[in-house]
């Protein structure tokens, strides 16, 4: 099924696309049909700079299991950073 669901979040950082590095200002997170991954539904993240147009995008499509593992890894990495670095 097409879930239609999309979570949007403002972010700050950079991503690397086919034309090189660019700043990213927005991310879309959604669990829906992938374009490329061989699964029926995947957790998809688009890192975007809408001001630079639709092609300013770094996209990933992850199985639900992979996405949950990534969430844990991100959390563990931030938790293990030396005190004072994560603000």
């Amino acid at each position: 099924m097409c879930t239609y669901l999309t979570e949007k979040v403002s972010i700050s950082g950079s991503g690397k696309g086919p034309s090189g590095w660019f700043k990213v200002t927005d991310a879309s997170v959604y669990f829906d049909h992938p374009v490329h991954a061989q699964a029926e539904h995947t957790l998809n993240i688009d890192f975007l700079d809408p001001a630079a147009g639709p092609s300013a995008r770094v996209a990933v499509e992850l199985t639900a299991e992979s996405a949950l593992a990534l969430v844990k890894a991100i959390q563990a990495t931030l938790d293990s950073a030396p005190p004072g670095l994560v603000t």
């Binding site: 099924m1 097409c2 239609y4 669901l5 999309t6 949007k8 927005d26 879309s28 959604y30 829906d32 049909h33 992938p34 374009v35 061989q38 699964a39 029926e40 688009d46 975007l48 809408p50 147009g53 639709p54 092609s55 995008r57 996209a59």
Partner: protein
């Protein structure tokens, strides 16, 4: 048999007469031939749906697929356009706009010199819902709903389609025969929802035929997805050819 066809991106007048992109595939023979509007799924105006459109042209129909995300990202690649539409909060596309884009594609097909004036619509996944939407909104000659979700039932609170009246409530407005192709393992639409829709069609005296395939789930006709079920898909295509042949070939 002369089998040349032309497939190309064209500009059509969509909702409100605005210019949008569409993918057109048509047999290069004098006709008369029927026309089919193809409605893409949520991932967009992609290669797979373009193949679907060309398959209809190879089968003898003028076919056109409006790019439902063209307005959000003109000129972008299909997947970037889908992402842009999501980022702009444009998904789901409002029903009124979808109907307008389909009407524009139908008008484009009716205007082709080899057209017989008959127009069908077909869509898969969310496009299946939109095919049903078009069939209760526009004067068409045939409609095919390939496993469209949210025709029956109310999406939960917080869902983008929550608050949109269920399409099944408009079944009385269906003005053309409907072919439904479903997988028995699907959850949207579930077998119970398919049965509910069939009951509503029956109660309203509509012409329809539904086929639900064992061992098939959602998107069983998508050839490059793990959901592909060749046996069900091949039979479903046979049903499509027979259905369009019955309702779109006579002039």
């Amino acid at each position: 048999m002369y089998d040349a066809m032309l497939a190309e991106t064209v500009t059509i007048a969509g909702h409100n007469g605005d210019e949008i992109e569409a993918y057109s595939a048509r047999p290069l023979r004098p006709g008369p031939v029927g026309g089919v509007v193809v409605i893409h799924h949520l991932p967009g105006y992609d290669r797979q749906t373009a193949e679907f459109t060309r398959a209809l042209a190879a089968g003898g129909y003028n076919a056109a697929m409006p790019n439902l995300y063209h307005r959000e990202a003109p000129g972008a690649s299909p997947d970037d356009a889908m992402a842009a539409a999501r980022a702009k909060g444009a998904i789901p596309i409002p029903d009124e706009r979808i109907v307008g884009e389909v009407a524009g594609a139908a008008a484009y097909l009716r205007g082709l010199t080899n057209a017989n004036g008959k127009i069908g619509v077909i869509g898969h996944c969310s496009g299946g819902r939109q095919a049903f939407l078009a069939a209760v909104s526009l004067p068409l000659d045939a409609a095919v709903d390939c496993y469209g979700g949210f025709v029956v039932g109310t999406p939960p609170e917080g869902h983008p389609l929550h608050g949109v009246p269920p399409l099944i409530d408009r079944v009385a407005d269906l003005a053309c025969p409907l072919l439904g192709l479903f997988g028995q393992d699907d959850v949207a639409p579930s077998p119970a929802q398919v049965a509910e829709l069939a009951g509503a069609l029956e109660a309203n005296g509509k012409t329809y035929e539904f086929h639900s395939y064992e061992g098939a789930g959602h998107a069983f006709m998508q050839v490059d997805r793990p959901s592909y079920r060749p046996e069900a898909a091949v039979e479903a295509w046979q049903r499509i050819w027979a259905f369009f042949g019955r309702y779109l070939l006579s002039s």
